[in-house]
Symmetry: D2
Subunit: 258 residues, 4 copies
């Protein structure tokens, strides 16, 4: 008996044959998108058409957010000291942690608990949201997924919820997120709008992803942005510069329409 | 004069507005796929339909390759000692280096040089390939992008080249890769088929990506696989186990058709 | 008013002058050891002679533990794929996490709480230890810092406690660790000896280091071992090998005496 | 025959016995310092008393250099987003790369080649240094290990060379470093003094360490500084702040004497 024989259910590799979750990779190629591959790898089954579309929208929503996020600062700093791309990306991904992207996971837990309690207690979303906002307020805690340093009405949230609605994906979790937004405003008089983390959280809940994997979606979404920043740093900046993320100006392509 | 004011051409962030390479992110959402977003972020322009499709095929081809690649071993080992997902992924990405995925970049440089010299010397691809294979042989070097530990005819290569051909993307770089494959066989009597790294390299050359960024495509492709492995390790295995990648068995979904 | 002016109390850098916690670095050089520098950097004051000696003993105790620990597997795997030394070390350090080295922090918290409760309840260490062992047993939890995969009597624990005792450093935390060891044996009939993590934890408690920094001492101690392994991997092994940590043999210098 | 049996010459682990390079770890504890352990782990033999002392001086010289180095910026940024200590340290170590600390390795190679060519060509250090400075000047390259952003006369260099001289360790590599400094001044009219990287490089050459491991000494030296910065960030700053390393003030212990 070999003590170390262990099981895996993800990919089977044989000579000239690679099967992901049972499907031949070469059969998947050309027929599914990356977003569908992501869903298949993680969930074990292919997504519906609607799920594939909303997953693409999630991934596109967070491709980049400029030079100020810590993941960008870290990746650029590592590039600036002479690291190869893989190390700069690894550092950028380390930065995607509790306070940077982590709100997606926290928000998923809040929404899951809220919907569960709503069901158990047979309440409306509005009532349940009021209770939860009051609980957080009494504990002097902030609800994750609401408010943004820069955006007072995050355009990504608006669009993600609209797409989710059009696709028939928006259900009780999106409803609860909106109910919480309203309840916060009612309790505090301030509008703390659902930010992109909160919006992604609601949609991931609708697709029944585990909160433990919330971070993965932000990481995947942001990698292309980090690649672009690392490449710009390597090709446009002198090595070992002081990188102060606030002191920058955008000099790229002017605004344009699709 | 502020010494540290610096320029970036990737993303402009204003209150309630985020523009990636000039396009509003919320306008991109729902209209482009992740692969298109990757292309836009890195190249600064949206891909053609054919480029978007082949990029999806590249990303899907390398989503996972089982538990033996060092990126998987590293990510699982880090998960096993109790790391959160981001740190396990960061470690996995560090493993994607010169000898693991790095053949894409090396192969791109070989193909670019081969096609350039072919043009300068006005040779056929066959002639140029023979020269290059002889040069490598004389230097006792292996050409990157040919041969595989497991696959004698990599199904991913076959499919990627077929899709590239159908989309009208396969041109002189794919031709050169095939010419090199033939020249190796002629010179050595052995068939060392183009592996998936070599095939991706040829297609990235066709789309004029810089070799410095080759690694980025393998990293993006493999992240979902690493996420699945980290999650399996966290939910199915006991912490701090000895992970010997060879001693595993696949017990997932049996072979199935799309 | 500059929003971003912030304070640091660690090091002052001026032209031709670097002061660590108030002392000129060039004045420290040649007069203090690395261990004293570690203490000064972290605590802000130089250690007593006894503290400096026990800190050296802690750092030497964990310089290396062969090829099986996950930090070594990770660092060697990263070296094997072609990473430079810094990336291989970074990966090794990521592996030093909750289940690998993390017992030092957990054990410090147990010992601190045990000593605090003992004081509050005016008990002997023996009585307090019995209570705690029973509590853990009832919660079906294992006390961190006891037992080892390989060692039934960890030689490093024995020596560290002896040195701590000789230096007058061993006091109520070392006493509590030993009391817990005895209480475990009494309750279960099994001897689960204090392991090196538990022993280091007790001594760090005696020197009043915060548990949050426990991991730092293991990281610092293990770096030279990881450096040696990375260098051995780079100079002695072929790239991209399957690394199964169990299948190794030692072929170094035979046993010798100081 | 097991394909994967492999050899290691660093540490032998048996039940209740751990031997580093042949010596029992518990016998080493209390009798050698960390610096001696570093030397033993890496070189396989214990250092002389002089080598142990100069190694301590090297490690102390680079314990910290304030908040502006990229390793500190990276570690603090990662701490600021909520990472645990090990991940923040891993990121800091990634930053210690070609342009940050990497000059030690580059400078070791320059010094080794200079001393070798001096021997082969039977020149004085002065003559050899003039030739090398001219070669670099003609190639428009900078010699690594000379000049500093802040220090015009690096106090750490002065002290390290003095200690090396007192201990009888300074020999032909230190002589060559000084000859290069003079030759630069003669050729350019500017004094570009040996910086701490160049000084460490010369002393590591005297002890016959391979240049490939140069980075290891900077990493080990800087870890305690990074630990102090991560802890200060975690305990004194709010999460997710913009970290601009220039906008800081020192508010720690005032200057004091040993």
């Amino acid at each position: 008996m070999k003590e170390d024989t262990w099981k895996t259910a993800i990919t089977k590799v044989e000579p000239n044959k690679v099967c992901l979750r049972g499907y031949r990779i070469d059969e998947l190629m050309g027929r599914i998108t990356y977003a569908q591959g992501v869903f298949l790898a993680i969930k074990g089954e292919l997504p519906s058409e609607a799920e594939a579309k909303i997953l693409d929208a999630i991934l596109v929503s967070s491709v980049d957010h400029g030079v100020t996020p810590p993941s960008c600062v870290t990746a650029r700093t590592l590039a600036s000291t002479g690291n190869p791309l893989n190390a700069a990306l690894a550092g950028g991904i380390l930065a995607i942690s509790r306070h940077h992207g982590g709100a997606i996971e926290d928000s998923m837990r809040v929404l899951q608990e809220a919907v569960r309690r709503k069901g158990e207690m047979n309440r409306t979303s509005e009532k349940m949201a009021s209770v939860i906002v009051r609980e957080y307020s009494e504990r002097h805690q902030r609800l994750p997924g609401f408010g943004h340093r820069i955006h007072t009405r995050d355009p990504r949230t608006v669009k993600l919820f609209q797409i989710a609605s059009d696709l028939g994906i928006a259900s009780e979790f999106v409803e609860m997120a909106k109910a919480l937004q309203d309840a916060i405003e009612e309790a505090s008089g301030k509008r703390l709008p659902i930010n992109v983390d909160g919006a992604i959280a609601a949609v991931l809940c609708e697709m029944d992803f585990p909160p433990e994997l919330a971070n993965a979606f932000f990481v995947m979404a942001r990698i292309p942005g980090l690649v672009a920043h690392v490449y710009e740093e390597q090709t446009r900046m002198r090595p070992m510069r002081h990188i102060c993320s606030k002191d920058h100006e955008y000099d790229g392509t002017p605004d344009r329409k699709l």
